[in-house]
Amino acid sequence: MAFSAQIDKTLEMDTSESYQVKLEAFQGPLDLLLFLIRKKKIDIHDIPISSITKDYLKYLDQKEKINLEHEAEFLLIAALLIYIKSQMLLPRETVPEDDMEDPRKVLIDRLLDFQKIKAAGSLLREKENKELKKWQRTFLPPSDKEKEEELELTEISLFDLAEAFFTLMKKKERDSMRTIKGKEVTHEEKMKEMLDYLDKHSFLDFIEYFNRQETFAEAFLSFFCLLELIKARIVVAIQESLFNTIKVWLRKESPS
């Protein structure tokens, strides 16, 4: 049959792709089924199940050599076809026509849905082609006199939220890895960091500052530096009551 030969050629194309079927023509079993139907020039509502099934099972036969694990849908369609075929082959009992649901209907419905999605996709593609040629500004015009705001998002979804979190977590993991590996904060650096902070902010909440340190060593170092700064009378530390935070202030009269 000339038709089979043509199919086989297509199959070879597919197998060479180790059936990930990311070809233009085929994306999966429903695509293949549609292809088979179209090549036979038949109406989707009038599928000659037995011959289509034969072609399809032949296709599956070849496919089995390759990779079946990922495509559970393949089995589903195959099972559906086999079921339909068996229904068609079995001698009909004398049941009134309309009581029997045509087993082909399930398949036809799925194929129609599938076709619709493909057709809608092609209509969306036309729109996409047009829209991609339009350009919008992605920045606020420079005439804006307001001070620049941080980048803002309009529509946040759960995905954005979760992504933000896990990205932060990864970054933190990476950072702490780096600290452990070698980046040692020196005594001078830490002292300077604390003084810079005090310069910018009016005071330093030491408990918070202490907690923010990435490693225990760094936290310990910051505590040591605080003691030294107090001793040198550069800062004054005040704890208003027991268990309250320690507030650190720069001494106004501190030697410069």
Partner: protein, 181 residues
């Protein structure tokens, strides 16, 4: 120079980076009667549409925004030194159309509609923010539920989901396909 309602609206649309909804314009301009605002808005859009201009005001994703016209795309790319903007892959486009027409929808449902595992395409669409997770389905396994985003609408130049290609348009395509073969 006089303060003109049409000019105020023009300025607001110009300054907004997202499509500016009609309702928002109204809440910003409470001093003006509703009818006047709507009339000025219409007039403004007509001004840009009818006169031979390089830029236009388009209605997308439920709002108004400035956009260039398609015929000037080559010069813009020349200026910005960029290639043609990337199109969606075939499978991403089909997955997106499955989400658009069947939303709210789960990954398993999308895969069933398309007949292939669609997790990869769906990831691409999430990354491009054309699709968003809106919650979980109250069914065994509690799968995540997906919807198209506002960005989806502006990406395709749609004002709302009602402007998606209609069933009639889709059937027409299907008939044409059959005639071709």
């Amino acid at each position: 120079m006089t303060i003109d309602l049409k000019n105020i609206i023009e300025t607001l649309i110009f300054i907004s980076l997202e499509p500016l909804p009609k309702e928002k314009i109204r809440t910003l301009l409470t001093d003006f009667p509703k009818e006047e605002i709507l009339a000025a808005l219409d007039e403004l859009v007509q001004d840009y549409a009818h006169k031979n201009r390089g830029i236009q005001i388009v209605q997308v994703a439920g709002g108004y925004m400035f956009s260039t016209k398609i015929e000037y795309d080559p010069w813009i790319r020349l200026l910005l030194r960029v290639d043609r903007k990337n199109r969606l892959s075939i499978s991403a486009m089909e997955t997106l159309s499955a989400v658009a027409y069947h939303q709210p929808v789960t990954l398993a449902e999308i895969s069933a509609f398309r007949g292939v595992d669609s997790s990869h395409s769906l990831k691409t669409l999430l990354q491009k923010r054309l699709v968003k997770i809106i919650g979980r389905k109250k069914s065994p396994g509690k799968p995540l539920i997906y919807r198209t985003s506002n960005r989806f609408l502006s990406y395709f130049g749609l004002e709302s989901l009602k402007d998606l290609p209609s069933q009639e348009e889709i059937s027409k395509i299907l008939e044409e396909n059959q005639e071709v073969e």
